[in-house]
Symmetry: C2
Subunit: 412 residues, 2 copies
Amino acid sequence: MGTVSPLAPAAVPGLPPLAGVRLATAAAGIRYAGRTDVLLALFDPGTSVAGVLTRSKCPSAPVEWCREKLKAGKARALVVNSGNANAFTGKNGREATRFTAALAARASQCKPGEVFLASTGVIGEPLKATQFDGVMDGLVAAAKPGAWLEAAQAIMTTDTFPKLATASAKLGKATVRINGFAKGAGMIAPDMATMLAFVFTDAPISASALRALLKSEVDDTFNAVTIDGDTSTSDTLLLFATGAAAKSGAPRISSASDGRLKDFRRALHGVLADLSEQIARDGEGARKLVRITVKGAVSKKSARRVALSIANSPLVKTAIAGEDANWGRVVMAVGKAGEPAERDRLAIWFGDIRVAAKGARDPAYDEAEVSAYMKGHVIDLTVDLGLGRGTDRVLTCDLTKEYVAINGDYRS
Amino acid sequence: MGTVSPLAPAAVPGLPPLAGVRLATAAAGIRYAGRTDVLLALFDPGTSVAGVLTRSKCPSAPVEWCREKLKAGKARALVVNSGNANAFTGKNGREATRFTAALAARASQCKPGEVFLASTGVIGEPLKATQFDGVMDGLVAAAKPGAWLEAAQAIMTTDTFPKLATASAKLGKATVRINGFAKGAGMIAPDMATMLAFVFTDAPISASALRALLKSEVDDTFNAVTIDGDTSTSDTLLLFATGAAAKSGAPRISSASDGRLKDFRRALHGVLADLSEQIARDGEGARKLVRITVKGAVSKKSARRVALSIANSPLVKTAIAGEDANWGRVVMAVGKAGEPAERDRLAIWFGDIRVAAKGARDPAYDEAEVSAYMKGHVIDLTVDLGLGRGTDRVLTCDLTKEYVAINGDYRS
């Protein structure tokens, strides 16, 4: 803890202002001392929103709030706090979301149903929403374009670096902007490492089109990252579109199948892929980013399942932490995935080095060569099942003693 | 490594001889120096056998051998080696099984198809079966009743203690015996901690009845234990019945539904439960045995899935390692299981202490009381889903830095 992940990007990208979005942060003293822990984002009238929320059967109160309000798809404000997840907090939790939304609505002159909420931090502790009371008016007054880094920092928990990404895209003859930031250092620990991501664009895109865009682009980005196979009660990804670029000639888009979205879709994918990779690079205790590609599967879905079986295997992850090209454990993880696989067709590579083929160790296997490769920060692991054309890729990180220390020593 | 698990039983049980079984061990130098690594068991003519084998799609050569030979259900010999799993060894692996079975058949004067094989150890390294050549005749000559402890020791890999169990049962008017031993310290690491278990009885029970008995009794014993959710390419459980007790009046049983099996079934369950709990108690790096009971589920199957989701959650396991009654992570694991669950009906206990109820922390929650409980060696975690009558229990252990050290530092 305290030190930045060795896998952090060399520099934090500077994000330009985005028309229709203003940001402010404050220290409400939810849990941490001497740092900000509340973020307010304000949106111009006409902003649409879509979201992807945790599939947990035990979601947090803010997740239930967002699920309900996303139906209308209109946003004027977003309030995020770190330090307390407001999850498994019963009636108090529901009251805290209502109180916070009413507070933000009054201060920013919108309806409570246009306020979106997210919380990350300890689970099961009542959230004292009254603590937001003292900072809300100040947040509204201070909100300004361009405070992206401060926003990303205010929502960090066990993260070792702030995670930001930006891209521009052509929409009609106009250029639109996409900015985003995220937090999360486990995929996804419920206490301190819930995954939250917020993405913003000035493109004028309807809520229903945003929904369809997000659904298709999240599959190979956020849904293809796993740290420990654990899913938070609070995972939240929201995509806001202010529509401000309409003034500079961007066409209004009401369907995700609109051909004019091609470049926007590419840029959105890029921002989601960038943010989700940063989450893997900040996996709790991670020292290696692991990119697992499975090809030759009977389908993409089958390839994904095999890749996740490898990515979530404690034995594969501890071997990589030990810089050990232990392909036997990869065979094990393929074998237990429950997907079609034939031992004698299997081939495995670490980087470009083929270590196993046709059901046995590669005859040309050179332990020294592979060991040298395993010392790198980024490990590419490829498995060819030799059965079909299904291909997929997931990202994960290694499993180190630091992961156990972070998660075993945290509360006690 | 090197020190015995703090969860080991106080004493290793002494196993009595079992009519129709003779055992011998030898040091063939497969991988380890200064210890035994081959076990030979010889069975009297008329011995029947049933087995449960790994569901891995990439099974080891000996697993494929056993699967084929179990069809006939007749056994005269069992050869087990530690140090090399003979898994993912291609054509060489198949040849090694044929060679070993032929060798044992010749030395013990039976058919190769009556020889059963199991191997545990490194994966992907060719097994030099010729190394058995020098020891096989000696093993056959030395085989004697009562060498149970030596047998259990010869098949150990990362195990910190030998695992043995015994029971007797009434069958008709005769008393029959069940002896068993097992190894495995991960559930189930493919390199060095494959789960192998061998159980023997003198009861005269046909192969088809043994199969049905084993299938039903394994579900709540060996199949209800998980260390890390990883499944070996080599997991093997074999149950041999010599029938020698027929001489002392035990009736010949040809169907698992025979009412006279009632006491035998109880005793078999006890031996399997004992051995499988010993495996959890020797989980790699384990300092706590964790018994997870899920009740109030919509079905037993659903309860099993929720229990396994909790048992395999790295965040739950690291919290328990840290002696932290982090019930928020239990909520997370329930929520991600994908089974019917309602947050506001959930209740959670550590030992007898209810920590959460009706979707929130228990009003009477006392951190000091729970913390004291968490210091024990055995942690009982109970979840009531409040939906139905489905109940199930699984065993696991905590996830410690030692697990990462054992599995991350092993080969490199």
